[in-house]
Symmetry: C2
Subunit: 567 residues, 2 copies
């Protein structure tokens, strides 16, 4: 509007200012970054007033409790806890704490807010405390590489995307030597607590550390925090992992744009592969946000034991039906991990790994005789470029790199071939043009949505409270998310209660099971009830760019809302 | 903030409402779409008050005026015009107009606003007028496929992305038969005017139609409107083409996110190919917005007659220098049309087109002897996958499809090979991991920024005024863009004044020359003065998602600001 344009000084206002926040390396902050830095985060009321920590009932495990108990003799059975209001401010010890924090694994929007949350807790509730940030992920703990975080250091990262405040890494603390290194570090720094911000593996690791320290009578408490854009780290008490909301909205903005493009030009099928390999939550959420014509959900493919041919036929059938309705365009969402959900593809890859490790691949293709009939049939069905990818792109162990397979391009080629067949049969008469997209990295480091910013801040602030109250082996959990922030609950969930075991090399390993898309859950059911309509009618929704103020700016993703029973 | 969250009804507000705007097909509008529909657009004051149309001096042509005069005997030399305030409201005839509008070529954010602009003009200033929308681009004119646009029809498209209100197409009105068809249509509909919204080709076409109608004494006036995200249709009087601002900001959002990702994980070089084949304006603007480590500008490559090896070495040198500074990551921007700017690549492609049209390609590679030494050397330098693409991916005429070459992947492979070489020589010691991205379709149909929304509305409204005042052969031009909207100037520029001729098949053809990146222009010079610093220091800016309200939401792109002399 003219008014705000004028108020804004017209064009001269520029989009990116030259105000430089020097402590964030050498960045030049944009207007939006600057606005976000000073965005004032609300806290749940329980965190704004005196509280006490109340234990719940004794917990058990997600599976094989007897094995989990053996693995965590000190921690097993400990209750989850809740923060509840109380009269006095003196419930928690008046003591200066030394706390370490680490970011583990892939980036997720909001990580910086978890850190600013725990920092602000310490500043406000345990004055004189020290917060160390371990650099570069768990390796930073093992190598004792850290930085002391203060107000000036943290300021430029407030409400900003990325993990670059202290960076992250994918190392794991696994071997006895590595546990010893971690032990040395926490003792050297005299740490009262350690906050591990990570996914399922990292939180499992956090729990192992907590058990180890408890067992060795080391005072350092360990707390976890649920991070992953994939959305597959959640349970009843941990309604969602942070970053999922932002990433899905960034992808949905792009998908919505591509939909409008498809409808405007009327000649392309856009095949969009979305990050999230183990579970299809991102794909499902983006479908709920944008209403594409076709969406492939890995978990459904697995349950129905579909083959690649089944998936191709499903897509082709809809394309043909749309052609009859004179729609020669559309948008198709595909989860990054599709191949992992297709039993026959897994079998083929296993056989290829075996054969290629032991045989030379002759030009005449005699090596193919080593494949089972089913795998040979699938291999021959694949487009040539994918065959080559399977043969050539191998990791250092000689294994096929499934993640590198451009599934969206593979499907375009298979769909094209099938449509050509149907053209010859006379059941399809149009020209098919596929356009491939992969939306991944651009969603991991975006500026967190208001929801992720607030949720993470509460997770971090709450984690501070839990460490302050002497808890260990919990994951920070913020609940009642369908209510206003004011009314959100804050507590900690026993990590052992989220665990099961897997047998690896003859040994039981504790794991936090990934939360897969539930075919009986509300988000999938909502999607399943709509998809036939979306397939043939164009119910496209264009969410547009994430807004930080105004209507809708505080709304959260459909998955969480549906799971919380909010219509 | 808690307050707006509460006001908003908390989570229940949802992100996409079920309020369905039925006339936009079957879409379900998101909150942001709904807010944008009712966004009230300001008009330049000259359009809000009585105005008259004032002629400027006689015009000439951008080149070869004598040839342009021969091609446009009726229009050549006509002045550009300006709207200026006047006392009386009765300057323009009180008459009901019949106007047609058409969208031509690729989508650009803001097209719908041009249409709503001219619609509102007719509603407010020539009451009782009729606006027809030709469907599917120029083919809609030739086939007389149209829809009558009314308030209800237009409403859901206000401030929305895409061209789906009437859709677009790439057909051209070229042959005498096609001109006759257009003639029949405008006469059948008794059109007083036609507004052609398109790029350089479409505006040239608009001018040919204007000349044709004038020559045949047909009353239909023809007006052009500057559309293209590529930003290569502009001149002094037409400061920018619409859509460029939005597309660049969408790409810059993604680039900014990828930068934060690169810095957080510290292990990837992201190679980002950006749409915009003929000119590198988009790449340059995105560089100015985000400050990547490396940016390739096609026009510079062409002027310096760089080879692919030169470009590769330039990238590799910076990667090595960054490695010395312990930065093993970065972001690299590449224009989609890079190959077109490299003389040796053009030569190779021409030779391949020739050879492959006439020779069989033998497996032993004897055909390669037909290549000149220079081309053979380049061919052998290319990664195998690109060699295959050059050999196999051909259009229906047998020509190499340059647009399909994934330049970013090609460069990753060439950079990787060169770095391996330097590793052996000992001058590089790190691991190189390239990640490829192509940002294209997601930028063409986004919700227009405030600037594009306002600019397009003024362009359309102004076009209505020009047609009303009896002008033809002009392109709608809105100027003084560095001032508040209030003070923007509105007028029309003689299309012939933007033209030169090209010799094709022995004949002179009129063309509006594409505006390339000027190596002496302020945007490039600003970039050139900064790039060495950006290469080695990380001056990343993360513009974040486009905001429609608040600070910065009305700011425009750097290219336009620098060209207008706004610091």
């Amino acid at each position: 509007m003219a008014k705000s344009f004028l108020q804004n000084g017209g064009l001269a206002a520029g989009r990116s200012t030259t105000r430089s926040i020097t402590s964030r390396l050498t960045s030049v902050y944009s207007d939006v970054q600057n606005i976000r830095i000073d965005y004032d985060l609300p806290l749940p009321s329980v965190l704004r007033n005196p509280f006490k920590v109340v234990d719940g009932p004794r917990s058990t495990a997600a599976g094989h409790p007897e094995e989990i108990e053996k693995l965590f003799p000190n921690l097993f059975g400990q209750p989850s806890v809740m923060l509840v209001p109380c009269d006095s401010d003196s419930v928690l010890p008046d003591k200066k704490l030394k706390i370490g924090v680490v970011l583990s694994g892939g980036q997720a929007p909001g990580g910086h807010n978890v850190i600013s949350g725990i920092f602000d807790y310490l500043q406000q509730r345990a004055k004189g405390s020290t917060l160390y940030g371990f650099r570069g992920g768990p390796a930073g703990i093992m190598k004792c590489k850290y930085v002391e975080l203060n107000s000036d250091y943290i300021y430029p990262y407030r409400n900003q995307g990325g993990f670059d405040m202290i960076c992250s890494g994918r190392d794991k603390i696994e071997t006895p030597e590595q546990f010893k290194q971690a032990e040395d570090t926490v003792q050297k720094l005299d740490l009262d607590g350690l906050l591990v911000i990570g996914g399922d593996d990292s939180n499992t690791n956090a729990c192992l550390l907590a058990e180890h320290f408890r067992n060795k009578n080391i005072k350092t408490l360990v707390m976890g925090c649920p991070k992953t854009i994939d959305g597959d780290l959640k349970c009843k008490e941990v309604p969602t992992s942070f970053g999922f909301d932002t990433a899905c909205k960034i992808y949905s903005e792009m998908i919505g744009n591509v939909m409008v493009d498809a409808r405007s030009s009327g000649k392309y099928y856009h095949f969009v592969r979305l990050m999230g390999r183990a579970a299809s939550h991102i794909t499902l959420e983006c479908a709920l946000q944008t209403h594409p014509n076709i969406t492939i959900i890995g978990e459904e493919v697995a349950v129905k034991k579909q083959t690649l041919k089944d998936v191709t036929d499903y897509i082709v059938d809809i394309i043909c039906k749309r052609a009859e309705a004179n729609y020669n365009y559309g948008v198709i969402l595909i989860p990054e991990g599709l191949i992992d959900f297709i039993p026959e593809a897994q079998k083929l890859i296993a056989e290829l790994n075996e054969i290629l490790a032991n045989e030379t691949v002759d030009e005449d293709g005699l090596w193919k005789k080593k494949l089972t009939d089913q795998s040979l049939k699938l291999f021959e069905f694949l487009p040539r470029s994918i065959q080559e990818q399977l043969m050539l792109e191998r990791d250092p162990h000689g294994n096929v790199q499934v993640a590198k397979i451009e599934t969206e391009k593979m499907l375009i080629q298979m769909v094209d071939a099938e449509l050509e067949k149907r053209k010859k049969e006379g059941s399809y008469k149009r020209e098919f043009k596929g356009q491939s997209h992969f939306f991944g990295y651009e969603g991991r480091c975006g500026l967190p949505t208001n929801f992720d910013a607030m949720y993470c801040y509460a997770l971090g602030y709450g984690a501070g409270a839990l460490l302050h109250s002497g808890k260990t082996g919990l994951i920070s959990s913020v609940g009642n998310l369908s209510a206003p922030v004011e009314e959100w609950t804050v507590g900690g969930t026993a990590l052992t209660s989220m665990m099961d075991v897997e047998r690896r090399r003859g040994k039981f390993k504790p794991v936090i099971k990934k939360a897969m898309v539930e075919l009986e859950g509300p988000p999938y059911k909502k999607f399943a009830s709509m998809r036939d309509e979306w397939a043939l009618k164009n119910r496209y929704t264009c969410p547009g760019p994430i807004q930080f103020s105004g209507p809708g700016s505080n709304a959260v993703n459909h998955t969480l809302r549906l799971e919380l029973g909010v219509v």
